[in-house]
Amino acid sequence: MAIWFARSRNIVSSLRHNLNLSGILSKRDYSPRPAFTNSQLSSRSVFLDSITSLRHESTAVEKQHDLVQQSDEEDVQELDFPGGKLGYTSEMKFIPESSPKRVPCYRVLDEDGRIISDSDFIPVSEQLAVRMYEQMATLQVMDHIFYEAQRQGRISFFITTVGEEAVNIASAAALSPDDVVLPQYREPGVLLWRGFTLQEFANQCFGNKADHGKGRQMPVHYGSNRYNYFTVSSPIATQLPQAAGVGYSLKMEKKNACAVTFIGDGGTSEGDFHAGLNFAAVMEAPVVFICRNNGWAISTHISEQFRSDGIVVKGQAYGIRSIRVDGNDALAVYSAVRSAREMAVTEQRPVLIEAMTYRVGHHSTSDDSTKYRAADEIQYWKMSRNPVNRFKKWVEDNGWWSEEDESKLRSNARKQLLQAIQASEKWDKPPLTELFSDVYDVKTKNLEEQELGLRELVEKQPQDYPPGFHI
C-alpha cells in the first residue's frame, strides 16, 4: 500500500538511517555513525579497525542498504565519550554553516497539473481526489466569504488560508480520524475535511450559543474533541510540546494513531519548537510535525527569521527524520503525510515535514501585507502558483471534474455559507452562566458569588447592558 522510499534522493538523507522497520527503537546511545540498524550495534566489537571488518559484520545483518557514504577521514580509531564511540581527525575542519546545495523539495505534479515522470507517490482514487478538490475549493469559498464578512463588520476578526489549501486538505486526507491534530491557526481545512460543518465554523466566528467553544475564543480558534482537533490557542508554538505529550499518551495506550501538529516558519523560532521536537525524539513519540513554510510571519520574511536552510535541516539536529515537500502540490503533500504517519505509528518515532508554500492572503484581517511586500509578488503566487488550480487541472485531465461541477460546487458552497452566516448572526450569544462555567469542573464559591453579583447588577440596570445580553 504505502510506497516506501527506497532510494534516498537527498544529500542530507544519505547520512540518515535507513527505513528499516526493525529499527533502533530503544537504543539510547547509538553511535553517530548510522551504519547499522540492528542490535549488534550495542556490542562494541562492531567497530573494528579495518573497513573490511565492518563489511564483514554487515553481511550478518538482515537486508542492508548501501553503506552510508564514508566521510573524508580514513582513520577508524575511535574515542569513547558519553553518547558512544566516535572517530577523530587531526584535520581541523569546521562544518560549514550551510550546504552548497539546498535540500530539494519533493513534488509530484508540475505547475500544469501533470504528474512528473518517475515520481514516487501514493496513488489517489477518483473518489478521494474529487473529495480533496471539492474541499480545497470549499475552503477557498469559506475564506473569501468570512473575510468579506469581517470587512463588513459582521465578525471581528478572521484568518484566511489562501495559498495553503493543499497543505490543509491533502494533509488531512492522509490522516486517520483517530490521529489527534494540534493546529496553529491556519489549518481549518483539516477540521473541514473531518466533517466540521460550515455552520459550525460560522458559529465559532460569531461566538454564539451554538459554538462548541461557548463563545470563549476569538474567531478561527476552532476546537472539536469529536474530530480530535485540539482547540486553537493563540500563543505560537505552545502546541508543539503538547503534541509530544499527545504522542506520549498514544504510545502509552498503544493506539494506532499519532499526533499531528502544525507550525509556521515563524513559529519555529519559538523555544517550544526546540522543546517539542527534542522531547518527541527522546520519548520516541509518534508525532508528525508539519511546518508550513509560507515565507512570512506577519511582516517578517524568513530571511529575518532564521539563517538555516529552512526547517527541514533542523530535523536531523534532533534525530528526527525529515522531508521537504512542495506544499502547493496536493499529491506530494498527501504522499508525504501518509508515509510520515505510517512511520510515526509503526516505528514510534517523530517525523518532520516542511511544506514549502506561500501565504497569499494577509496574516489576518488586522494586517495589510501590501505594506511590506510587493503587490505583484502576491499576484504571482495567487495566479501562477495556485495550489487549487494546479490540482484542479490534474483532476480535470483525468476526466473526474468538469466546469459544470465547478460552478455548482462554488455556488452551493457560497449559498450555504451565506445562510450559515445569516443564521449565526441572528442566534443569541451565550448566556451569563457561561461566563463562569468551565473555569473548573464545578464552580467554586467565589465564582458563584461573582456570578450572583453580576446577575443582580444586570437585572437591576438592564438598560446599561447591550440588547441580547442574556442571563
Binding site: S26, V180, L182, D211, H212, G213, K214, R216, Q217, H221, G223, S224, N225, F230, T231, S233, S234, P235, T238, Q239, L240, P241, Q242, A243, A244, G245, V246, Y248, S249, L250, K251, M252, E253, K254, A259, G271, D272, H274, A275, G276, N278, F279, V282, M283, S437, D438, V439, Y440, D441, V442, T444, K445, N446
Partner: protein, 406 residues
C-alpha cells in the same frame, strides 16, 4: 513483584475509562458545608468498578470503610488500625504510588524522576515498579514537559508533573497560564486538563534567591487552576491523592524544608479535600492563618503565647486557591482578630489576597485591622543570617499577637 513494565501502562492499560468515575470517589468540593462537620478526614471506598484498579500494595492494609458517597462525609475520627509512621516525602510517594496503582492513566514526568527517584526522592522506586515510560525522565525544558503533560492530559492521561524546584516552573508559566488554566474554558468544556503540577518551593537553607521562590504568589491569579499547599505527612498524602483525582489542574506546593517531617498516618485509604483548610489549634482570642512551613513557626509561637496567657486559634489554610472562607469566616466571627503569617513577599502574595478577602467579607466582625506578616520584598539572600531575617520568625509572631490583642 514488579517486573519492569516497558513501553506501556502494563496491565489495565486498555481498561476503558468509561467504567471509572472519579467523581464518585472524591468528597464534594463545596465549602458551604453543614456546621456539624468537625473532622477533615474522608475515608473513601475504592471504586465499585474495575478490580484491576484495586491492586494491593504489599504491606498496606486495604481495609476500606464502606462508601462515603458524594453528598455526605463518613466522619470516622477514630483510627481503626495502628497507622504507620513515615516522613513527608514518603507520604507523598505513598499517595502517588497508590494512585498509580489505582488508575493506569496516572503517570509522572519531570527531570530525574525515574531511576534517580527525584531530587527529593518523592518518586523513589516508582520507575522500577511502573516502568520508565510511566515515570518519565524528561530533558531539561520545563515549558516542554509541562506542555507535554497538558497535551497528554487532553488525550486522557493524568500526568503528575514535577518541577525540580518550584522556581524553575517560571519557565513553564506560559503553558500553565495560557494553556493549562485556560483550555478547559476556551474549548467550551470539550477538553479537560487533569494535571497535577508539584514541586518543592519556599525558602530553604541557603539555597540562594532562584531556589527560594514562592510561586504561589505568581500563580494565584491564573484562572482555572487550583492551588494547595501541604504541610504534614498526613495532608501531603491526602492532598496528593485528591489532586490526582481532581478533573481540574492542581498545583501542589511542597516545601523544601518539610520533606523530613515524621508523622504517623492511617493505614486505611483517605484523601483530603482540596478546598478545605485545616484547624490546627482551636482557640478564642485571635485567628492565625498560615500555611506550609510557617505553620510550624506559628505553632512554636503559640507555645510561647499560651504560656503568656493567650489562646490563639491556628488554621492552616492549605487551599491557596480558592480560599476556604467558610472556615476562615467562622473563625473570624469567633475571635474578631486576624493575623496572617506567610512566607510570600509582602507585595502581591497570598497574604495580600487573603487580607483583601477577609476585609471584604468579614469587615463587620473585625475588632482590629488584619495584620499580615510576610517576607520582605527582597530576593532571598544566601548568607544565613540575612536569610533568617527574611523569613517570619516565631518571636515576630508573638509580638504581633500581643499587639493585636491589646
Amino acid at each position: 513483584m514488579a517486573a519492569r513494565i516497558h513501553g506501556g501502562a502494563g496491565a489495565g492499560a486498555a481498561t476503558a475509562l468509561s467504567t471509572f468515575n472519579p467523581k464518585k470517589l472524591v468528597a464534594p468540593s463545596r465549602t458551604n458545608l453543614p456546621a456539624a462537620r468537625s473532622s477533615k478526614r474522608y475515608i473513601v471506598a475504592a471504586a465499585g468498578s474495575d478490580a484491576s484498579k484495586k491492586s494491593l500494595r504489599v504491606g498496606h492494609s486495604q481495609k476500606l470503610i464502606a462508601n462515603a458517597a458524594v453528598a455526605t462525609k463518613a466522619d470516622t475520627s477514630a483510627t481503626t488500625g495502628t497507622g504507620h509512621e513515615l516522613l513527608l516525602f514518603e507520604a507523598l510517594q505513598e499517595g502517588l504510588e497508590e494512585e498509580m496503582d489505582r488508575d493506569p492513566h496516572v503517570c509522572v514526568m519531570g527531570e530525574d524522576v525515574g531511576h534517580y527517584g527525584g531530587s527529593y526522592k518523592v518518586t523513589k522506586g516508582l520507575a522500577d515498579k511502573f516502568g520508565d515510560l510511566r515515570v518519565l525522565d524528561t530533558p531539561i525544558c520545563e515549558n516542554a514537559f509541562t506542555g507535554m503533560g497538558i497535551g497528554a492530559a487532553m488525550t486522557g492521561l493524568r500526568p503528575v508533573i514535577e518541577g525540580m524546584n518550584m522556581g524553575f516552573l517560571l519557565l513553564a508559566f506560559n503553558q500553565i497560564s495560557n494553556n493549562c488554566g485556560m483550555l478547559h474554558y476556551t474549548s467550551g468544556g470539550q477538553f479537560t486538563i487533569p494535571v497535577v503540577i508539584r514541586g518543592p518551593g519556599g525558602v530553604g537553607r541557603q539555597l540562594g534567591a532562584e531556589h527560594s521562590q514562592r510561586l504561589e504568589s505568581y500563580f494565584q491569579s491564573i484562572p482555572g487552576i487550583q492551588m494547595v499547599a501541604c504541610s504534614t505527612p498526613y495532608n501531603a498524602k491526602g492532598l496528593m491523592k485528591a489532586a490526582i483525582r481532581s478533573e481540574n489542574p492542581v498545583i501542589l506546593f511542597e516545601h523544601v524544608l518539610l520533606y523530613n517531617l515524621k508523622e504517623k498516618i492511617p493505614d486505611e485509604e483517605y484523601i483530603c479535600n482540596l478546598e478545605e483548610a485545616e484547624m490546627v489549634r482551636p482557640g478564642e482570642h485571635i485567628t492565625i492563618l498560615t500555611y506550609s512551613r510557617m505553620r510550624y513557626h506559628v505553632m512554636q509561637a503559640a507555645k510561647t503565647l499560651v504560656n503568656k496567657g493567650y489562646d490563639p486559634e491556628v488554621i492552616d489554610i492549605r487551599s491557596l486557591k480558592p480560599f476556604d472562607l467558610y472556615m476562615i469566616g467562622n473563625s473570624v466571627k469567633k475571635t474578631h482578630r486576624v493575623l496572617i503569617v506567610e512566607e510570600c513577599m509582602r507585595t502581591g502574595g497570598i497574604g495580600a489576597s487573603l487580607t483583601a478577602a477577609i476585609n471584604e467579607n468579614f469587615h463587620d466582625y473585625l475588632d482590629a485591622p488584619v495584620m499580615c506578616l510576610s517576607s520582605q520584598d527582597v530576593p532571598t539572600p544566601y548568607a544565613g543570617t540575612l536569610e533568617e531575617w527574611t523569613v517570619v520568625q516565631p518571636a515576630q509572631i508573638v509580638t504581633a499577637v500581643e499587639q493585636l490583642c491589646q
